[in-house]
Symmetry: C2
Subunit: 383 residues, 2 copies
């Protein structure tokens, strides 16, 4: 089948096995490994589309659950689809809504048909099913849409995770049957299985048996220790097809991004840069820096000296701190801008290192400086 989303491998890093690639969708191409800024409610919080573009993002993620609840998928469809509605002409990926509704549901609300839950806005009752998720995503019109899956909480029992993982496969079947726009929207399947290697293997086999334009790893980076995250990541990635993009859902800390790339992941998303930015914390090569802190009161250097972003090129840490203390929106804008730029730039550095077969060196340099470094004990990297 001809999928609307295509993937090419351009180079494999000789030092790490990481993949440099390119994903092409109906709204253009982006280089991988790629970080996708999150625009939950049809806006990357605080940013304009032009700003997200000038930082180099080729794809953003938006949330099906949120847009379904407000303003509603039908309104977005009438507006001409999500791209037009939010003035973003590059690629968009929408999640399935599963992650959000599972967090709003109790175990008895989860049935074979789907998930019963109450809206976080007005408490109204709703049912999200595989069919409904795809219908909403068809209305939104993202280039990449995600299968409706069950993301197990951490920790879960083997029994629970096994049932859940099997259901995720049945739900994928229903998603595919419901998908009405396979010519313009590529549906990715999601591998689940909680922290259990046997279930991850079972899920990977089942999910990748469907001919899809891409596959994702769900259900990790959900609160488990770093060792467990790395173990599951490094046992799952090799089970995924080499000729399709691999998406690690919800991951966005610098250390996980680098290790994810080394593991063979191509796409990542996370609310981290926007959420931290709105609260006055920035990401740097040395770790997080709380710009709002008193100690930056008279710091007339940039927030992150040496950074090439708009915020660091034009404003001092003292100014940004003042804006946060004074409750000014522009402070959130500057910190958010820096954080998204930081992660997009980090991925650019990762891609350059893959191209020059030196991602292992970049990783070593990075972890030597990065505060709170969590070196991956399961990394496939041999040095």
């Amino acid at each position: 089948m001809q999928h609307p989303v295509k993937y090419e491998i351009l180079h494999i890093c000789k030092q790490t096995g990481a993949r440099l690639g390119r994903v092409t969708t109906p709204h253009g191409s982006f280089m991988t490994p790629a970080f996708m800024p999150v625009g939950t409610q049809a806006t990357v919080k605080g940013m304009s589309p032009e700003e997200v573009k000038e930082m180099g993002a080729g794809i953003i993620l938006s949330n099906t659950y949120h847009l379904w609840m407000r303003p509603g998928n039908e309104l977005v469809r009438k507006a001409g689809g999500l791209h037009k509605f939010m003035n973003w002409d590059r690629s968009i990926l929408t999640d399935s809504g599963g992650f959000q509704v599972f967090s709003l549901a109790t175990p008895k609300d989860i049935v074979e048909e789907g998930v019963h839950f109450r809206s976080h806005i007005d408490g109204s009752k709703h049912l999200l099913t595989p069919e409904k998720s795809i219908e909403i995503q068809n209305d939104l019109g993202a280039d990449i849409i995600m299968a409706f899956d069950e993301c197990c909480p951490y920790p879960s029992t083997h029994e629970y995770a096994a049932r859940s993982q099997a259901r995720t496969t049945r739900w994928l079947d229903r998603c595919l049957a419901a998908h009405k726009k396979a010519d313009t929207q590529g549906l990715f399947g999601i591998i689940q299985g909680s922290m259990f290697e046997d279930l991850r293997k079972e899920s990977a086999e089942a999910i990748t048996s469907f001919d899809l334009p891409g596959y994702a790893i769900g259900g990790i980076s959900v609160g488990e220790p770093a060792e467990l995250f790395y173990k599951v990541l490094n046992c799952t990635t090799p089970l995924m097809p080499e000729d399709k993009p691999r998406y690690l859902m919800g991951v966005g800390t610098p250390d996980y991004l680098i290790e994810g790339a080394i593991s063979g992941i191509d796409m990542f998303d996370c609310v981290l840069p926007t959420r931290l930015g709105r609260h006055g914390t920035i990401l740097t090569d040395e770790g997080r820096k709380i710009v709002r802190d008193k100690k930056h009161e008279e710091c007339f250097e940039p927030m992150d000296p040496g950074c090439s972003c708009y915020a660091c090129q034009n404003y001092s840490a003292a100014y940004v701190r003042h804006l946060f203390k004074a409750g000014e929106i522009f402070g959130m804008r500057l910190a958010t801008y820096h954080n998204i730029h930081f992660l997009l730039n980090l991925m650019e550095r990762v891609r350059e290192a893959i191209a020059s077969d030196s991602l292992g060196d970049l990783r070593d340099e990075f972890f030597a400086k990065y505060a709170g470094a969590r070196y991956n004990p399961y990394s496939g990297l041999e040095r």
Copy 2:
């Protein structure tokens, strides 16, 4: 004396007598009549300096009281001055802080020395004097600084207004004596006198007897009826020198801007466009429009059809409404952008009309459409 702020008249509208001019400061020139967006706390709320520039602002206003309280004038001085601190390389005007501290003080707190008041941030006690206001403004480094005056509340008795107006003149003398940067910062005097024509005349004579680079009208547009506003405006403006810029403080509704220009005013400022924008209301030729209203839910037209601004060119009213309902910062950005653009564009239309001797026509056309129009019964315009 050679002032650092210069004014040239380029044309007088034959239809109305309004002045097309140019003010030049150490940070460039701007055409008048000009609207100055307000950047209270060293940022035009929600906007970047680049956005304010691309809309065409040549000068912004910032508030001495707010910057004194937070982050402090010494910090701004150490940062290299307000221009560098906030990354704005065009002209800046700072007010004296008087307007704010009078609103925080009771009558007995106002003495010949200055005004005792408590900070709105932490309740700490402070005294603002003419000397202190100028010291702070010298530290901030704006191109145009304002004399510390007493702005009478409305209504005030003739006796109170007379005393207050006389004190404003004595305080101007002290401001001039305290001014340490007369070579780079132009000090404007402020004409007071509440709603009394005899006091306005007295104040105008006293204030304009000082050789200053510009003069302002304070103490109107403070809650009085429109008829009274127009009466005081039109009796005061003719008393001001023709060869100096005339600044009408705190005025920014479209009707007052047009009538102000006809009266012979060159500069205006107001928080209206940013404040309305943050709350989801926009300015249009037809009056105010509450974009947050339910009735715009499925309006896929721009907020203000026909408007050439970034927000109206790229986004629908439905999208902006969604952003406000969802509490998204970008909604405030778009509505604020539109509003500042609207007023700057209105002044551009006013300047073009002056140049073509047709400001009276523009005024008639404007008021024929503008909802809540308040036609100036005291306008000098003869038709």
